[in-house]
């Protein structure tokens, strides 16, 4: 009866599309709202109080409540607390950053927020409609997202000395932190296949109920079966295979641990291992060029497809080596951020620490495993792709621990997140739990954020000295 009335009133009722917060993770695996424990509940409450919604990112990240807490605190501070940039600028920068990766999910969320805090809707028609000051940031956004090693102090100088459109140092640091945060978050969104929110484009449908009932049941059920059947069958077929995968990985870790002291590679060998890993990471790409999810209206306005990570790698440009012992987050980056944008350095520092040290000592079905070696390999592999080198790391370990399908996934999530497919997500670490795959994503996004920050902050430091 109610529906009839509404229809008579001409109200169209949206219906949810999709099967939960993530397209990759079956809904039943994800925590249901209402069944969370006290800590998670408190997090949900905080998130809802801060954002006025409980978004799908939160629902997926809650696999790791300890991290989620730090993440939400940081994001809340960046977007809503005291800071040098006005509120609508912050959301607009978020839109700019997310649009670099055609992440319509984040763009849509922040378009709403942008309008909510009184932003000018005209700006949404593209960067050229925004104030000159924000337009100037476009170049940094582009370089930061795809080739952060190219950032020089001239970029910084250009932003800081643009007469009436100048950025102040504090504003710039705020903007840089926002950009890197949203680049990484876009990686997470694609890496975990976050579904659109129900109130955003692509999150609902207005089809008449009768038709949609039929269609959605059909499509979703069909999808479910299409999605899950092959996976199941694949699992059945290769269950021993993938079981062996985990065992092999653990065996490798054990071996590395034991022979680390004995077999000492020469210096040249160590150096070349890094270079090899760096070079190879350029060519690690999924062979299947599946089509990208169509960009939403808004994000289309911000696109500049002429500039992307892939273009660069095809040209085989050389990535210079950045030595972390000369400029690292703990000693240098932190101090700079905290100086120019107080408290944020502390928050990000905590977030990095939690992400890097997070472990449950489990690997798939195994318990009490020291995963620090594996986590360090993942972290350093990402930094390696950005040319960041740790003097005290043997890059040979990466090849031992990360297999090709995993590398493909990492590479795609970090560099071209919009190209991530469910197949990629499913094909690495097949025996591992979804929560572990989300854990991997957390490592990926934090390592990426730190890499981008290091380059940007080093340029700022160079400008200042």
């Amino acid at each position: 009866g109610g529906r009839d009335q509404d229809e008579e009133l001409g109200i169209r009722i949206p219906r949810p599309l999709g099967q939960g917060p993530s397209r990759f993770i079956p809904e039943k695996e994800i925590l249901q709202v209402g069944s969370e424990d006290a800590q998670m509940h408190a997090l949900f409450a905080d998130s809802f109080a801060a954002l006025g919604r409980l978004d799908n990112i939160t629902l997926v990240m809650v696999f790791h409540p300890q991290y989620l807490e730090s993440f939400l605190k940081t994001q809340h501070y960046l977007l809503q607390m005291d800071g040098p940039l006005p509120l609508h600028y912050r959301h607009y920068i978020g839109i700019m950053a997310a649009a670099r990766h055609q992440c319509s999910y984040l763009v849509n969320l922040h378009v709403n927020d942008f309008l909510h805090v009184g932003g000018d809707p005209k700006w949404l028609n593209g960067l050229e409609n925004a104030p000159q000051k924000l337009q100037n940031l476009g170049e940094l956004n582009k370089v930061l997202a795809h080739r952060p090693w190219l950032i020089t102090k001239e970029h910084i100088e250009g932003l800081l000395k643009a007469e009436e459109h100048s950025w102040s140092l504090a504003e710039l640091v705020h903007a840089v932190v926002l950009l890197t945060h949203y680049h990484s978050l876009a990686s997470f969104t694609f890496g975990c296949g976050i579904s659109p929110e129900i109130h955003c484009d692509g999150g609902h449908t207005f089809r008449p109920p009768s038709v949609s009932n039929y269609c959605i049941c059909d499509i979703t059920n069909g999808n479910h079966s299409v999605d899950e059947m092959p996976v199941n069958s694949a699992e059945n077929v290769s269950v021993s295979d993938s079981f062996f995968e985990v065992e092999a990985l653990m065996e490798k870790m054990r071996q590395l641990q034991e022979c680390r002291d004995e077999e000492e590679a020469s210096q040249e060998e160590m150096a070349s291992r890094f270079e090899i890993e760096k070079r190879e990471s350029m060519f690690v790409f999924s062979s299947d060029d599946e089509e990208v999810t169509p960009a939403r209206a808004v994000s289309r306005h911000f696109e500049d497809t002429s500039y992307g990570y892939k273009d660069f790698s095809r040209h085989g440009m050389h990535v210079p080596t950045f030595r972390v012992q000369d400029y690292c987050w703990e000693d240098h980056g932190y101090s700079l951020v905290n100086r120019l944008y107080p408290d944020v350095g502390q928050l990000i520092d905590e977030k990095f620490h939690i992400a890097y040290n997070l472990t449950y000592n489990t690997m798939a079905m195994h318990k009490d495993v020291d995963t620090s070696m594996l986590r360090r390999a993942i972290w350093n592999y990402i930094h390696c792709m950005f040319g960041i080198r740790y003097d005290d790391y043997d890059y040979g370990e990466i090849n031992q621990l990360l297999d090709r399908s995993f590398k493909v996934y990492i590479k795609t999530v970090v560099c071209t997140p919009e190209k991530v497919t469910k197949r990629m997500y499913d094909s690495f670490w097949r025996q591992f739990k979804h929560s572990e795959k989300v854990h991997v994503n957390l490592l990926l996004i934090e390592a990426r954020m730190q890499a981008e920050l290091l380059y940007a902050l080093r340029a700022i430091t160079r400008y200042m000295t």
Partner: protein
């Protein structure tokens, strides 16, 4: 003055004495000897054994002797000048040879020794040999042994510790390579008196002690040891000290004051037992600790306690270790928020340790007490990368930063706000600092990321104190005035003191100068405080006014009347008058009957205006010269009598008489500058002549008044009326008559305008000037109150910034007086965006649990720890979110409304505790 070389050579000879003596006590073979398997630990053992036999006297005695001898060396004078030389690459660390004539510079791609000569640095040796660049040569730290001129150690970024022997005949001086650390080594440190003991601290969270006569480390210390306990550490796979050594050491315990003894002994026993267990290789089963180890940022041997060293960690902790006991640290405390980058033991004071952290602080700890006590804290402007005590200056230390700030500062820890000296030579961050000689305070060497090596002379340092402005001035809340100025200035002007401080008392504080302090006196000031007279009340009127004024919620006329009444009751008649005037101006005449007007003045007579005059004048005259409440109250009394009078002229005369006959001496009124100014204020606002205030002399004021009186197009008779008292006033030649005059004339003017019904806009300028006038006078309260009450009517006439300025000043004042409610009301009523957003900032309220006293962070009303609701209402048993009222007798309470209601019906506590609660 002898040449450096010869004298220092002689000193060296003497300096070596104790070392030699020390060596002879050690039966160990020389370093060149190969280690025979039978006595793996023989070298170190022999040493500790020996030390043990006459411990503590020997170790301490030897050290003391050494320091005495080296002090003697200080007699020789180093010479040199401020100079720098260019390096090929950025430096990461520097270290000085004990002869004070050579310095080693190490970095990612540099490792060289320079000779320090009179005029320049001369490159002496390049230790980076070999064609292939090796990460082993990428140095994070370097240290030169303070006893052996040929011995150096470096820490490499890839985790290798390398020792160098300059005595080797070949080009390659590399001696030994220790590859035990898995991560970057941040710091290496030689034992100050023991030739073969080297300590390293690494990113992997371990500290290792090496005996240079052996191929690998003697003992390993873990930052987690205290948490892990003895059994775990053995399983975590470090090389433990052999039980034999431990047993011997056990007996040594009496020589160490640190740590409770029983405790230590039992742990050692545990440790011995655990050696029975097979050692697990550092494998997958070693548990979660492996990933959580905190990186070691600095390790430093104590200079005076033979067995002690300190280590600092990335998580802000500092640990104190006994080199013989790797199982657990002697002591641990959190020194900084965030990483502790560096530490340095005081060269003379046994217990002092300086630490520097990322939190931009340098702290000095006294380690002799049971708990480390923070003695001093210096707040710098950037993270502290290195800290080094200055030789021979007990309270001085040098610091440099690894980010943003390129200068080197020397601080006197007792004066933590301004550095004693500053070296500004470097163009990029300074990475290493070292005092050239352990007993010469004037030479500092530094290496920097800008690829340069500098020698700084203390006498060439810039002294920030010279640029400091040691003058300061501040008003206290109650009108007290304090100012600090250079003593010379104060002395020069002290002659004027009695003049300004008429009834106020200056109190002088003078800092006693320390003649030992080189910069004392440069920036020292004398502080003087002027108090208002006790009992003067000071700002009472301000508080009362703020509390009683009505600013909104009623019609304008009522607000004005109310505020006028408040002002009058407080004896501030000028202000009261202003409010009344505002009402006349802005409330349409039709709405304000004359009777009402009269009433407002407190008199129901037929002629309202003269009455107002009289009232005004009566009040101001006494208010003028008087500064004490006594005088004021007298004025009030007089005005009261005047109010009862009905004739204006009569009052004027009376007033004249009164003034002349008053006990306030006439010469005081004339002579007091403030009094004269007051008169001008009275003139100024009401005549709307903002350009007047420059006139300070009463003689000039009179002609001005004439002009003003003439200008308004008022009826003739009124002007006459106004003139007459003026004449009498000038004849009387008493300054206090001036206001009489002015108020008269102005009132007549306004009356005339009121009659002709000019629109309120006409007064815009006038009112604006009036507000400015009050604000200039310091009565920002009046300015803001009027601004709020009049709202739109005047706002457009005053520019935004001024309004904002007034608002913030007033709010600041209100908050100083803790008038939070009023301040909040003002914020709420303000229209300025910058002001009204004050209410939006820091709106978070932090609550502590009433049971466990812990902050309730995540959820506002339920404590995570004790799972209780914070504050329950005793009546409805729900959580109180908002105003909570409780009985101070039995501490039960609840919702304000509920408790009020309850107590209406019962006098017992609603919680049933039997207490008789009282609600007042």
């Amino acid at each position: 003055m002898g040449k450096t070389r010869t004298t220092s050579g002689e000193g060296r000879e003497r300096q070596r004495l104790p070392a030699r003596r020390f060596r002879t006590t050690s039966p160990a073979a020389l370093r060149a000897d190969s280690v025979d398997g039978g006595s793996l630990l023989a070298p170190l053992l022999g040493l500790t054994d020996q030390a043990f036999s006459d411990c503590p006297d020997l170790a301490d005695g030897a050290m003391e002797k050494m320091s005495r001898v080296t002090t003697a060396l200080g007699g020789s004078v180093l010479t040199g000048r401020t100079m720098h030389c260019h390096l090929d690459a950025p430096a990461n660390a520097i270290s000085v040879c004990r002869d004070a004539a050579q310095v080693v510079v190490a970095g990612r791609s540099i490792f060289k020794i320079y000779a320090i000569e009179e005029e320049q640095f001369v490159e002496k040796l390049n230790l980076r040999v070999g064609r292939k660049p090796s990460l082993n040569l990428s140095c994070a730290d370097v240290v030169w042994h303070q006893m052996d001129e040929n011995l150096l150690a470096t820490a490499a970024t890839n985790g290798v510790v390398v020792t160098w022997n300059l005595g080797r005949p070949s080009r390659n001086k590399q001696d030994q390579l220790f590859t035990e650390h898995k991560r970057t080594v941040n710091k290496v440190c030689f034992h100050p008196t023991e030739a073969h003991v080297l300590l390293s601290g690494s990113q992997d969270g371990f500290m290792k002690c090496f005996d240079l006569r052996r191929k690998d480390s003697v003992s390993t210390f873990s930052g987690e040891a205290t948490e892990a306990g003895p059994r775990e550490w053995a399983m975590a796979g470090w090389v433990p000290v052999l039980p034999v050594l431990s047993c011997r050491i056990l007996r040594l315990h009496h020589s160490f004051a640190h740590g409770p003894m029983q405790d230590a002994e039992s742990t050692a026993n545990d440790a011995r037992e655990s050696w029975g267990c097979p050692l697990y290789p550092l494998g997958l089963c070693s548990g979660p600790q492996a990933g959580q180890s905190e990186s070691v940022r600095d390790v430093q041997f104590s200079i005076r306690d033979y067995f002690t060293f300190a280590s600092t960690f990335e998580n802000g902790n500092v640990q104190l270790w006994d080199i013989r006991r790797p199982d657990r640290c002697e002591r641990m405390f959190t020194a900084h928020n965030g990483p502790v980058f560096c530490c340095d033991w005081h060269p003379e004071d046994r217990g002092w340790l300086a630490t520097g952290g990322r939190d931009k602080m340098v702290k000095v700890w006294d380690m002799t007490t049971h708990r480390a006590k923070e003695m001093h804290c210096v707040q710098t402007i950037a993270s502290v990368a290195r800290v080094k005590w200055r030789p021979e200056c007990r309270h001085h230390l040098a610091t440099c930063s690894m980010m943003v700030d390129h200068n080197i500062y020397v601080w006197d820890v007792r004066r933590p706000f301004v550095p004693a000296a500053m070296f500004e030579e470097h163009r990029d961050v300074t990475t290493g600092i070292a005092w050239r000689h352990p007993h010469d305070p004037s030479f500092l060497l530094s290496g920097s990321k800008d690829s340069s090596l500098c020698q700084h002379l203390f006498r060439d340092a810039s002294q920030p104190v010279e640029r400091a402005n040691p003058e300061g001035l501040c008003y206290g809340l109650f009108g007290d005035l304090a100012f600090a100025a250079k003593e010379s200035l104060v002395a020069a002007e002290s002659g004027r003191k009695p003049y300004t401080g008429d009834r106020r008392h200056p109190i002088f504080f003078k800092r006693k100068l320390d003649p030992a302090e080189p910069f004392a006196g440069l920036a020292s000031s004398a502080l003087s405080v002027f108090e208002t007279e006790p009992g003067g009340g000071g700002m009472r009127w301000f508080v009362d006014t703020a509390e009683r004024y009505a600013l909104a919620g009623r019609p304008l006329a009522e607000l004005c009347d109310h505020n006028a009444k408040v002002a009058r009751e407080l004896g501030r008649n000028q202000v009261a008058q202003t409010w009344t005037m505002l009402r006349i101006i802005y409330c349409s005449p039709g709405l304000v009957p004359t009777a009402n007007l009269n009433h407002s003045v407190g008199k129901g007579g037929s002629c309202g205006l003269p009455l107002m005059n009289s009232f005004n004048l009566k009040d101001m005259a006494p208010g003028l010269g008087s500064e004490t409440r006594l005088d004021r109250s007298k004025g009030d009394a007089r005005s009261d009598t005047v109010l009862l009078d009905s004739s204006a002229t009569l009052i004027t005369n009376e007033d004249n008489e009164e003034t002349e006959g008053s006990d306030v001496p006439a010469d005081y009124l004339l002579g007091d500058v403030e009094g004269e100014e007051d008169e001008l204020y009275l003139l100024d606002p009401e005549h709307a002549h903002p350009e007047d205030p420059e006139c300070v002399l009463p003689q000039e004021a009179f002609p001005l008044r004439h002009e003003i009186v003439d200008t308004p197009p008022g009826p003739e008779h009124l002007q006459d009326k106004a003139d007459s008292p003026h004449v009498s006033g000038s004849e009387a030649d008493v300054a206090s008559l001036a206001p009489v005059d002015s108020s008269f004339s102005l009132l007549s003017v306004s009356h005339a305008l009121y009659d002709s019904r000019l629109p309120p806009d006409f007064f815009g300028v006038l009112v604006r000037d009036m507000l400015h006038f009050y604000a200039e006078q310091g009565d920002v309260q009046m300015a803001v109150s009027v601004l709020i009450v009049l709202g739109e009517r005047v706002r457009k006439d005053i520019d935004e910034q001024t309004q904002e300025h007034w608002y913030t000043s007033y709010i600041d004042l209100l908050q100083r007086f803790r008038l939070w409610n009023v301040s909040n009301e003002v914020v709420k009523l303000s229209t300025s965006r910058a002001v009204s957003c004050l209410n939006q900032a820091s709106t978070t309220l932090h609550v502590n649990c009433s049971h466990c006293k812990r902050p309730m962070s995540s959820r506002g009303w339920v404590c995570d720890r004790c799972h209780r609701c914070a504050s329950m209402c005793a009546v409805c048993h729900h959580v109180v979110k908002g105003l909570f009222v409780w009985c101070q007798g039995c501490s039960h309470g609840g919702h304000l409304q509920h408790i009020m209601k309850w107590l209406e019906g019962s006098s017992h506590c609603p919680a049933g505790c039997g207490h008789l609660c009282e609600y007042s």
